[in-house]
């Protein structure tokens, strides 16, 4: 058996997490550097995965398979397709930036009234999340996936509840109360989703007799595994509910603004750019792969919910007064696009949705991290507390604008490619849906530009007049993200080449063909 590359990619951050947590309390800086090094090493491993992966080869590659709980047919099975590789690469790429951006977020506070916050714990938890996310993206055993899908909640809970945003409008107790409210809400929402999924996982085992994604998919495809229509639909709903909470889809979204608003900017990025992607990824891989018929059955409702998410999220983003909550609602709108692309059941839609997951990760990271830098300077999350920042900190304002433009999917930046593919994919099958979704692009411009205008332009407010521009560390975080956004916007071919074959497989899972253009159909 060859070197277990995927396991190594996941184990490295896990070991790193333990090592970081074990660094003595006084050696804070050492813990930070250790976490950064581990995340960079993980990135190197992820790049190796990317290089070793052959897009045109077998569907699942770099597979590993070991017996684990033999009594229930649970196996430790890993393997990645193009979509998984892309998302593992995204995760491994973002973590170093998250670590670097959160460099000072967990430093102990000077004031007595606040709790002492262990730096080691913060970075260890981030690495732990990374390890679990990577396993989730690589797992091809449903039970294995489920375990890590749920286990992720534990470190996330502590990251949200334990390390809140220092820029809080209220008093310390108030801040801490809201923080724990957000953390508990996050946990409960996802636990409920997870429990329903657990029932469905058990149900699947009862029906199929094992947990292997590949085996079940194959058996479904060649007809050896029959499922009663109602059984399939119930199981599908069980899985989908959990993923829709995680993604999050309207009306299961309300935990996200709280969680993103109360946590520090890097953790907010971790939630929306990394952890939530597991939800949409799992829809694509598990919902469509395991329950193709039920997926088609549920499509109309899901498309409507996705459309509501797109428009509703964007409208709410317009109405927000808090920068981070605004970004959170914008993300809800974007997740609507991703889900729309997945369930449009066209090649363009699904390729677009996959690209969207990657690009949304990059664009939100860029916007949110710069917003975090901004917030840490002024100590307030309220949009109204800013004004004229571009005069005193032009680089900060410029990067913020680019992040914003990426969020509104300006052509030439990466998110445009994916958003347009999703729109085209949706339009090809459901023209009305496609047209309604385009309203989202106008609203995206509205909330982004309003945010930019209110914070960055206009007369300089006295409170921001002494604001320093981006520091070297911060620039190091933002510059590569922006370079990637531009690079993938101009030349997304490497990514599409990676994703296309995987999408083809998914399309054949659900036995769907792209609608033919009118002109060809007429011939």
């Amino acid at each position: 058996m060859s070197f277990p590359l995927l396991t190594a990619t996941a184990v490295l951050p896990a070991v790193g997490a333990i090592a970081t947590a074990a660094v003595p309390a006084a050696r804070r800086t050492a813990a930070k550097w250790l976490a950064l090094l581990v995340s960079l090493a993980t990135l190197a491993l992820a790049v190796t995965v990317l290089v070793r992966f052959d897009p045109d080869g077998a569907r699942y590659q770099l597979t590993e398979s070991r017996s684990w709980i033999a009594e229930f047919g649970v196996r430790y099975e890993l393997g990645v397709d193009g979509i998984g590789v892309a998302l593992i690469a995204l995760t491994a790429l973002l973590i170093p930036f998250i670590v670097l951006a959160g460099w000072h977020d967990a430093d102990p506070l000077e004031t007595k009234s606040s709790r002492w916050r262990p730096t080691q714990g913060f970075f260890a938890l981030i690495l732990a999340v990374e390890a679990m996310v990577i396993i989730s993206f690589a797992a091809t055993d449903v039970f294995l996936f489920y375990i890590f899908f749920e286990a992720m909640l534990i470190p996330m809970y502590f990251l949200i509840g334990g390390f809140g945003d220092r820029a809080h409008s209220g008093t310390d107790e108030n801040a801490s109360a809201q923080r724990s409210y957000a953390a508990v809400k996050f946990l409960l929402y996802n636990l409920v989703g997870g429990l329903i999924m657990l029932a469905a996982v058990i149900g699947l085992y009862v029906v199929a007799g094992n947990f292997s994604l590949q085996e079940i998919t194959e058996a479904r495809a060649n007809g050896t595994l029959e499922m009663a229509t109602s059984t399939e639909r119930w199981l599908f709903l069980g899985f989908f509910f959990a993923f829709a909470v995680k993604a999050p889809l309207w009306p299961l979204h309300t935990w996200l603004p709280n969680a993103m608003g109360e946590s520090t900017a890097p953790v907010a990025v971790l939630i929306t750019a990394v952890v939530d992607k597991v939800g949409t990824f799992a829809m694509l891989r598990f919902c469509l792969g395991l329950f193709p018929e039920a997926s088609k059955w549920a499509t109309p409702v899901i498309l409507v919910l996705a459309l509501i998410s797109i428009v509703y999220g964007a409208l709410l983003a317009v109405g927000q007064r808090d920068i981070k909550r605004l970004v959170a609602y914008a993300s809800i709108s974007h997740f609507g696009f991703i889900i729309l692309g997945i369930f449009a059941m066209t090649s363009q839609g699904q390729s677009g949705a996959t690209l969207y997951m990657v690009n949304h990760g990059l664009s939100t990271a860029a916007l949110m991290l710069v917003a975090g830098f901004l917030i840490s300077r002024r100590g307030s999350r309220l949009i109204a507390d800013y004004g004229g920042v571009q005069k005193v900190a032009p680089v900060l304002a410029g990067t913020f604008l680019i992040g914003g433009l990426a969020t509104l999917s300006l052509p030439g930046l990466a998110p445009f490619v994916s958003e347009f593919l999703v729109l085209v994919g949706a339009f090809a099958r459901y023209p009305v849906v496609g047209i309604i979704a385009t309203i989202g692009i106008v609203l995206a411009a509205l909330y982004t530009l309003v945010l930019y205008q209110r914070t960055m332009t206009g007369p300089v407010k006295p409170e921001v007049s002494a604001m320093p521009d981006l520091r070297a560390r911060e620039l190091l975080v933002v510059a590569p993200l922006i370079a990637l956004l531009i690079g993938l916007g101009v030349y997304p071919k490497p990514l599409t080449d990676l994703v296309n074959p995987a999408v083809k497989h998914t399309m054949s899972d659900v036995q769907q063909k792209d609608p033919k253009p009118d002109v060809e159909a007429a011939k």
Binding site: L188, Y189, T254, S347, Q390, A428, T438, K493, D518
Partner: protein, 648 residues
């Protein structure tokens, strides 16, 4: 040769990248670098043009495939350029006029500490516009399309510290986004109809689909064009866009941005030719905007806003011509080019006037400036004569042709459109004469300025440094500003005649756009005669009202129409009440709904679970005997149940 095409785009793009990322080091050379790269692009364009002239009419299309952009199953978008006569015309206009505006800006923006960035944005504008006209498929065109929107956003809001500028920039971008929605829906429609959105295949396959589809695509393209070209109902951003520095206005109005819509319609000619209904809507939009812009132009006292109204109206002419189909395509483009010359000249002239007048924009505080700014006066005057269509100057040839073509449309439609175009010509003559008289002739009203209303808002921020209450000392602008104006004045005078001799321009564009003479119910001479008559009427009316009587320094209340026109015919009020207020209410109520209803359901569930468990908790009172009761009770129930089961 075709490998040079990418260089056209690359030069300004490089300029933008270097200037925007270069930092303060480049402050001293930035403007030269920007200008040089714009000029380099023009030189490349000229070389390609010379090469193109050397080949036969049917072999003039060059194409360059750079790389495959978005390859997805069944969906293929390439970064590929196509240079034909139509693109070439635009390339020369964009880079030529663009370079002149760059040169002008060196002087105009001399005292602005962010001049380097300004040139970076200008280069970005050129690059985006070049991508727009050189793209060989609609998706790449879309990149240029939005790139232009971005550049205009950055430039209109260049003086971001002014809230009005930031708002205007945002408004321009948002209104354009509404138009962009149309373009993206059009592209999606093309994709589902033809399976592709490259110009060649789409335009060839128009015959194979239904008229309904073509109409839908056409209308969506028109929506896009309305956004970019400031046509009714998406015209409201154009007036506010005057918040930007004056060279930006010149660039937006003459060489880039607003011409994009005309390009899009002419480029998609094959689609519109197959969809007469869409064409009709295009002509109606053009005709309405033509009058709308002209009426607004009559009422504005701000020199730049008056010119903005005029642009709207002139673009309306072009859209009208483009809607006429093959009869009008050539003339739309021809008017676009001549308009590019004289409108750029007029704006640069206006900038020059403002430069000499402490950045005052209110024409009521000008007057008699011809003595102090002779070069500006002459170049502006030539631009004025060109735009009103003075015989022999550029505007005369191009506008006259459009009016003729409108009549040639035939039927009642033709008569209506033709009359509207004639009426537009009269109003154009009126408001341009008004601008001319109020600025350069009459009493020197600026001498009494200090007693007038000093709190009048001023558009340019440099006013802060000059001190607003000083009496201005009108003076001619530096040479870097006057030379571009002189060059443009030459263009305004001679371009039209040059194009029309032997129908040169028509033969040049014909292979791309096709041309159809139509059957005009009126002879060319009649139309020209009628145009001359309305022209004289317009000028005479303006002279009577503004030349013979003194112009009051503060604007009179005016008639209902004047007041409405000053407020852009109430369009902004409509937008404000319906869209802005309505939107605010909508978002506010949604925020409330999200908080109370959606989140309320969740929190309610949590609270009821909490309440239930609170009640359950009360049963655990710690008294051993009460536990014993429940135990005995439970056992009793169990036994009873067992007995019952037995009995049954």
């Amino acid at each position: 040769m075709e490998n040079l095409i990418a260089l056209l785009v690359a030069a300004p793009l490089l300029g933008a990248a270097v200037l925007l990322c270069g930092g303060r080091r480049l402050d001293r050379v930035g403007h030269w670098l920007g200008t040089l790269l714009a000029a380099a692009s023009f030189v490349v364009g000229a070389v390609l043009f010379a090469d193109m002239l050397g080949r036969g009419a049917e072999e003039r299309t060059l194409s360059q495939h750079l790389f495959s952009w978005i390859p997805v199953e069944g969906f293929q978008a390439d970064v590929a350029f196509q240079l034909d006569q139509l693109s070439m015309t635009f390339v020369l206009l964009i880079t030529g006029v663009g370079t002149l505006i760059h040169i002008y800006s060196i002087g105009y923006m001399e005292h602005d500490e962010r001049r380097r960035r300004f040139f970076g944005y200008l280069n970005l504008f050129l690059a985006a516009m070049l991508i727009l006209v050189l793209a060989d498929n609609y998706l790449l065109l879309y990149v240029g399309w939005e790139g232009v929107g971005l550049a205009s956003y950055l430039l209109i809001g260049f003086w971001q510290h002014k809230p009005s500028a930031a708002t205007a920039a945002k408004k321009a971008f948002l209104v354009n986004r509404v138009g962009d929605m149309g373009l993206s829906i059009a592209i999606m429609l093309m994709f589902t109809t033809f399976g592709t959105f490259a110009f060649g295949p789409v335009l060839e396959a128009t015959g194979e689909t239904s008229e309904g589809k073509l109409t839908a695509i056409g209308l969506m393209l028109l929506l896009a064009a309305c956004g970019k070209s400031a046509q009714v109902p998406l015209q409201s951003w154009l007036g506010d866009a005057m918040e930007g520095p004056t060279p930006v206005s010149a660039l937006i109005h003459a060489a880039t941005m607003v011409t994009a819509g005309v390009y899009l319609i002419v480029r998609s000619g094959a689609i519109f030719n197959g969809a007469p209904d869409a064409q009709l809507v295009v002509t109606v939009v053009g005709a309405v905007t033509l009058l709308f812009g002209a009426i607004v132009g009559c009422a504005k006292d701000d020199i730049k806003k008056a010119l903005a109204g005029s642009t709207m109206s002139q673009i309306g002419y072009m859209i009208l011509a483009a809607g006429l189909g093959p009869i009008g395509y050539v003339f739309a483009i021809m008017h676009l080019v001549t308009h590019g010359f004289f409108k750029a000249g007029l704006f640069l002239g206006a900038g020059s006037v403002m430069h000499g007048m402490n950045d005052e924009v209110d024409m009521r505080k000008y007057g008699g400036l011809r003595k102090y700014m002779p070069v500006t006066f002459v170049t502006f005057g030539l631009g004025y004569l060109a735009i009103i269509g003075f015989p022999g100057l550029s505007g005369f040839f191009s506008k006259d042709k459009i009016i003729e073509a409108a009549f040639a449309k035939g039927g009642a439609e033709g008569w209506i459109l033709g009359s509207v175009a004639l009426l537009g010509a009269a109003i154009t003559a009126f408001y341009m004469t008004r601008v001319m008289i109020m600025t350069f002739f009459g009493e020197e009203r600026w001498r009494h300025r200090a007693t007038a209303s000093p709190d009048q808002p001023s558009a340019e921020p440099a006013a802060e440094t000059h001190g607003e209450h000083d009496e201005p000392h009108p003076h001619e602008s530096p040479r870097s500003m006057t030379i571009p104006m002189i060059v443009l004045a030459f263009g305004s005078v001679f371009a039209g005649g040059f194009f029309s001799i032997g129908d040169r321009f028509m033969h040049w564009l014909e292979p791309v756009t096709r041309h159809d003479h139509g059957h005009s119910p009126l002879s060319a001479a009649t139309v020209t005669g009628a145009t001359m008559v309305v022209l004289i009427i317009g000028v005479a009316l303006a002279y009577v009202q503004y030349g013979r009587r003194p112009v009051p320094v503060t604007a009179p209340r005016g008639s209902l129409l004047t007041r409405a026109a000053r407020r852009d015919l109430l369009q902004d009020d409509f937008n404000h009440v319906v869209l802005v207020r309505g939107g605010e209410h909508l978002t506010r109520s949604l925020v409330y709904v999200d908080h109370t209803l959606v989140d309320g359901v969740v929190n309610g569930t949590a609270a009821s679970v909490g309440g239930l468990s609170g009640r359950l908790r009360k049963m655990q009172n710690g008294y051993a005997r009460s536990y014993a009761v429940s135990m005995f009770g439970g056992v009793a129930v169990l036994i009873a149940a067992t007995l019952l089961m037995r009995a049954v």
